[in-house]
């Protein structure tokens, strides 16, 4: 299978359409960042954005990548995210959708950042049950992404590989393996990437993320501001052949960083990824 090369879309701009779109086979839409406040006060995707995405879908594969579902919140996830999904899936053909293995809300209060779950049976049961419900509601593939944890790991009952394997096995979802996040955790937590990959069911990886971030106080942050580092691309080159069912490699960059990164560097990154995926 030929691996698609893609990038994320946080804001639709003429420069994106002209410069980046020709470099990709897949565009990963972030519903949360495209939402605006509707007349009733709820977050909605504007009609012109939906029309634009429907037109984009004629040229490239579209996937959705959420940040606001708060899949792992003990006392209920964020229902507002489902309204955005409903809107998008009504008009845009979507190959699959994905979310992060973490939480952003507690009792309706926004934490301000994606926080990680303890790898316990209680968290596992909760996530599996939520994914099963979501897969019933939306009959398209759902992928779960491994996240960066800046804080020390809370007491755990299983390794990350086992935790992810159990989730995919019991919920039927696939994995979005973020290579950059693996590197962040290895750097920040003395986490053993090779051991994780050795035990992770790589047959469940349908998509891979790659990015370049920044460091703060000696910690690698999940802030997608730069081109990927050589170490990240080297890791991708090693992982890719071990993932027989991977369909896409997606380079993530946040819209705020585009002015400093530049569209030329963005498209160069995508060209390099294509070359790497073909090699």
């Amino acid at each position: 299978m030929t691996v698609k090369i893609g990038t994320n879309l946080e804001e639709i701009s003429p420069a994106f359409i002209e410069t980046i779109l020709p470099c990709v086979d897949l565009v990963e839409v972030v519903p949360d960042t495209l939402a605006r406040k509707g007349e009733s006060g709820e977050a909605v995707i504007p009609k012109e954005t939906l029309d634009c995405l429907a037109a984009l879908a004629q040229q490239v594969t579209i996937t959705l990548h959420g940040v606001g579902l708060s899949l792992g919140t003990a006392r209920g996830w964020n229902p507002a995210y489902f309204r955005l999904l409903d809107q998008l899936l009504d008009v845009v053909p979507v190959a699959w959708h994905s979310e992060h293995l973490g939480f952003t809300h507690v009792d309706g209060q926004f934490t301000g950042s994606m926080l990680s779950l303890p790898r316990t049976q209680e968290a596992l049961d909760l996530v599996v049950e939520r994914i099963c419900r979501m897969r019933e509601r939306y009959p398209l593939p759902f992928l779960l992404e491994n996240i960066v944890n800046l804080l020390p790991d809370p007491p755990a009952e299983m390794t990350e590989a086992l935790f992810l394997n159990q989730i995919t096995r019991h919920s039927g979802c696939d994995l979005l393996l973020d290579i950059y996040n693996l590197r962040c955790n290895a750097h920040n937590q003395a986490y053993d990437i090779a051991d994780c990959l050795e035990h992770l069911d790589l047959g469940r990886v349908r998509e891979i993320h790659i990015a370049g971030g920044v460091e703060r106080a000696g910690l690698m942050l999940d802030v997608h501001a730069k081109r990927s580092q050589a170490e990240t691309r080297n890791l991708l080159a090693k992982v890719l052949p071990r993932c027989p069912n991977v369909e896409a490699v997606v380079y993530e960059v946040m819209s705020q960083s585009v002015p400093s990164l530049g569209y030329a560097a963005w498209s160069d990154e995508l060209s390099d990824l294509r070359e790497l995926a073909l090699s």
């Binding site: 949360d32 960042t33 939402a35 605006r36 406040k37 007349e39 977050a43 606001g68 792992g72 919140t73 003990a74 006392r75 964020n78 507002a80 939480f103 952003t104 809300h105 507690v106 009792d107 209060q109 926004f110 934490t111 301000g112 950042s113 926080l115 779950l117 303890p118 316990t120 209680e122 968290a123 909760l126 800046l150 804080l151 020390p152 809370p154 007491p155 703060r216 106080a217 910690l219 942050l221 802030v223 946040m254 819209s255 705020q256």
Partner: protein, 178 residues
Amino acid sequence: MNLETYQNGLLHLVTGNALTIEDAPYLQSLVDSQRLHVVREVICYWRAYGLERFSVLVAPYLQSQGCFDAVVQRFVGSATFSASLAESGKRFLDWLATDGDPIVESLARTELALHRTQSDRTAVVDVEWPCDPEPLLLALLAREDLASRALTTPQRHRLKVSRSYPRGYLSERVPDPA
């Protein structure tokens, strides 16, 4: 420590609140740690990013004054924050509308008025200004560098914000009280 206890404790910590003595040892171990400090910095960074995207007038003005990040930090510490950019942005402008700095207050009210006239075609909102807003608004909308320019000579003005004006607003000088 069950999942709910863990999540409530983390929320307390990342939003800068204190724990109680009964909280789990794991949560206690995070208090005053450098890693928690970095998480808080990242949270502040994302919030500043969102507010910068939402606010097309006040954010660039505060940036030109070199105080945007400090103002965002004060705002974040003042109330709970919504994940909705529109909601947070509106709260930010409401908060700045009583900031104490006359230019910032007028600018925030102007931006709120522009939002209102976007959603309500018939709305007309008057905003009082301590100076002529025109040069400042034009410079902000053109993303010109404000730092080296004197744009705010004291002179009372009233800005009428309405969709019925070609540019969305009309500025008129208000006579000084006799």
